[in-house]
Symmetry: C2
Subunit: 480 residues, 2 copies
């Protein structure tokens, strides 16, 4: 699988100098933008060179057997080309062309022909109907039609990260790439799997276990091999976040005309995800908004959340959201409340802790009081201020979170555009709404619990302090 992402030599079949030729956009990106240092060949009917890369009229004529063939020609020509690739001994092929299983009976027949040749010759195929692979650390990308001068492309390659995406649609690949421009998402690899006639999400989950990947984000339109996916997910020691379309028959029908999917039973999928520890996403945007909670913060190991705000409304709103997300508004122990009283500037020493105008040290003191409290599992700071000191304060908070092994889901109401402008640069995981921040806490705990259930970790032995019964606020008490 590695050579799909880091080939030492690649042939782009269908790249030519014809205007609007898509294959040439791949050659241009490899040469002009990525300065890819492997060998690149072009194959086209004239056998012409493309952007300085040597051209041939057939793969058979290439001076070597490349690690990878990328095919981007009309669908009807693909079966012959696959035969040529097999004769040349090529073992990895990405078919970017569309018009196979998603395009009716003729397409399906061609697909079967290709499958047979691949199986007999031990060839692994990605696609068809896909964009192929992108690897930031290897500076390789075979997406067609992407303008490499895009700010988004620059940012991806200049700041490699630890999230890898498996995406069954070119459109969603572009959406994820656009998000990188303003969100804190460092990418390791992106792979667009299209109709996934051979290589599928399960193969890639396995592959991502042994590289720099820390979180796996998946967009799925259909699932032919549900059991295979769930088996791979169960073994995964990295969080898997999946958005799947086709929740309703109408969505499934629309997906069918797009990437040749089948209507799957959503309830079965839902329960299989729970079993396998897969986190199911509620919106496409969560593909980029949630991973930072896993890469930048410890996991949430319990449900007791302390809120800390200087704008009362956001405390009230978030209390509702926490309860709806099956988390709890922790009742702070009396010794914690005493400490808060001494910190000064605190209007409300109960949860949500509410403070007035205060110097940075007061913020740090309160972070420490709350994170060190045994009854608190995680923090929801809702800080409606934006002054230069906030950046340093949040960086200190991140250190404290690591020290106490408890996460904080940061939201800065009334300063969202300002915080978005700085979050990628300073690598501070700031969320854009109370909803997003609470959701991040919720999925962090969901993943932690799946690790326990799968016996990948065991529950820490309770310390003496933890023996104190944790006080939980009941609805009855509040109403009285």
């Amino acid at each position: 699988m590695e050579k799909f992402f880091d080939p030492k030599s690649v042939v782009v079949i269908g790249a030519s100098n014809t205007p609007f030729n898509l294959g040439s956009t791949i050659c241009n990106m490899l040469k002009d933008y990525l300065q890819y240092n492997g060998a690149v060949y072009a194959v086209n009917s004239k056998g012409e060179d493309v952007n300085g890369y040597p051209g041939f009229s057939s793969v058979i004529d290439l001076p070597e057997t490349p690690d990878l063939a990328v095919i981007i020609v009309a669908a009807k020509n693909v079966p012959n080309i696959i035969n040529d690739c097999a004769r040349k001994g090529i073992k990895r092929i990405i078919i970017e062309s569309a018009g196979f299983s998603e395009g009716g009976e003729d397409g399906k027949a061609m697909q079967h022909e290709i499958d047979d040749v691949a199986r007999i010759n031990g060839i692994r195929i990605m696609g068809p109907n896909c964009l192929g692979t992108l690897s930031t650390r290897n500076k390789f990308c075979c997406f067609y039609g992407v303008n490499p001068s895009l700010v988004e492309m620059k940012q991806i390659f200049e700041a490699p990260g630890n999230i890898s995406y498996i995406i069954q649609s070119g459109g969603i690949v572009v959406l994820v790439m656009e998000s990188l421009y303003y969100d804190l998402v460092g990418v390791n690899k992106i792979v667009s799997i299209g109709n996934k006639c051979d290589v599928d999400e399960a193969d890639l989950i396995d592959y991502f276990q042994n590289d720099e990947t820390q979180v796996i984000g998946i967009y799925l339109e259909n699932m032919d091999k549900g059991r295979k996916l769930m088996d791979a997910a169960k073994k995964s020691r990295k969080p898997i976040l999946i958005y799947k379309v086709g929740k309703t028959p109408e969505g499934a029908r629309a997906a069918m005309s797009h990437t040749a999917g089948m209507a799957n039973n959503d309830l079965i999928f839902e329960s299989a995800c729970k079993q396998a520890g897969i986190i199911r996403l509620q919106s496409i945007d969560e593909l980029h908004s949630l991973p930072k909670m896993f890469t930048e913060m410890p996991l949430l190991k319990g449900k007791q959340i302390a809120m800390f705000t200087n704008s009362g409304a956001f405390g009230s709103i978030s209390a509702d959201l926490l309860v709806e997300a099956d988390l709890q508004v922790v009742r702070l122990a009396s010794q914690t409340q005493e400490k808060l009283k001494k910190a000064g500037q605190v209007f409300n020493i109960k949860n949500p802790v509410d403070i007035g105008p205060a110097p940075p040290q007061t913020y740090l003191d309160i972070f420490e009081i709350l994170l060190s409290a045994n009854e608190v599992d995680g923090l929801l700071p809702l800080l409606s201020v934006w002054q230069p000191f906030v950046i340093d304060t949040l960086l200190e908070l991140m250190k404290m979170c690591k020290h106490y092994d408890k996460p904080a889901a940061i939201y800065t109401p009334n300063a969202v555009s300002k915080s978005i402008a700085i979050r990628a640069k300073h690598r501070i995981p700031i969320f854009e709404s109370s909803e997003q921040a609470v959701r991040a806490l919720s999925v962090s705990n969901e993943y932690y619990e799946s690790l326990l259930k799968r016996n990948f970790i065991s529950k820490p032995a309770p310390t003496v302090n933890l023996d104190t019964k944790r006080p939980i606020i009941t609805a009855m008490e509040v109403a009285s």
Copy 2:
């Protein structure tokens, strides 16, 4: 009520030249930023002038009885000041100071004292614990602590619009104002009502019936007079969008320490909203994301939605979302499909209509075919392109929507940041995700149905064409 928003004279009680004095920020905004042309007086212990506005040591000494008094002093001094205002004959008071019902027993006692004086003297009071009023057309604002050089403030006053906000928390006022910087929301008036000891959301709903307001956005932390609110809402001929906290006991408890609210029963509130035609918001962001659907587009008069995309994934995702929102993926009539076939570049003539690269005229042709189809009630264009022609195309689409009296909820996947940059300038109601766009269609139809139910409008007589039975896709058919 009008003079709360357009006073000819105002006294700011508590404005002085002491450093960090909050009352002076109101004087500064009125003078330096708004060039307010009424009379302004300051009252403070020294009787000193503030930023050129004449100062007095008591309201009693003012040369006239001002239309409005704004009080921003320590809570314990408020009752005496109210007495002075009564003696002076002032009939409208905004108490911005905090520390009343939300601050314990002493605060409650002071509140009762104030209520008595106000009732006896026929004084209307806004607050306490609030920011007061803002009116773009009257160039008046008495919010304290706002930096008038903020881009957001400029934008509000330079481009008055037709949305009025009633907000029970200063923090949310600031959030809404921040949103104006990048969303398409032209404001008419904003009012922050705080503890609402007298003037409440129902009074303001009544008042907004007779001004430039087209949509009313409300943020509520509690509801003392539920019946009064619901009666006002039932009579409202303008859509009312409410976000209410305290859905859970924990949220209600947090709100109580903030604006002196009471735990209200959320199920009762939910059902009362349905009765009164109130649209209940699912997130704070909807306060600014949804109004544009009402101000810029016709109402959605049925549930049959046609999708039009050039990126298949977004069609599939949105089909799921439509069904989950109780809308329907319309089955296009055969004559509509025939017309689409002739339009050219169409991959899929069924819904979601999917097209390849095409010139602007093809987009316009398809918009027209879909909007003119009798079986279609509304359009969901999911256009993953961003070239200069798109702006003109969308402006044409808006004209067509008005012509056919059917709405479109526009989303431009993969170009969200580009479209945000232009939407306010061109007044194109573009949504930021499939979820937002589908939600906009859903609330538009919900409001239309509430107008029917309240007998404000009657169902249009079916035309000859409408007699054709509308085909609805059933789950059974899709599965077969």
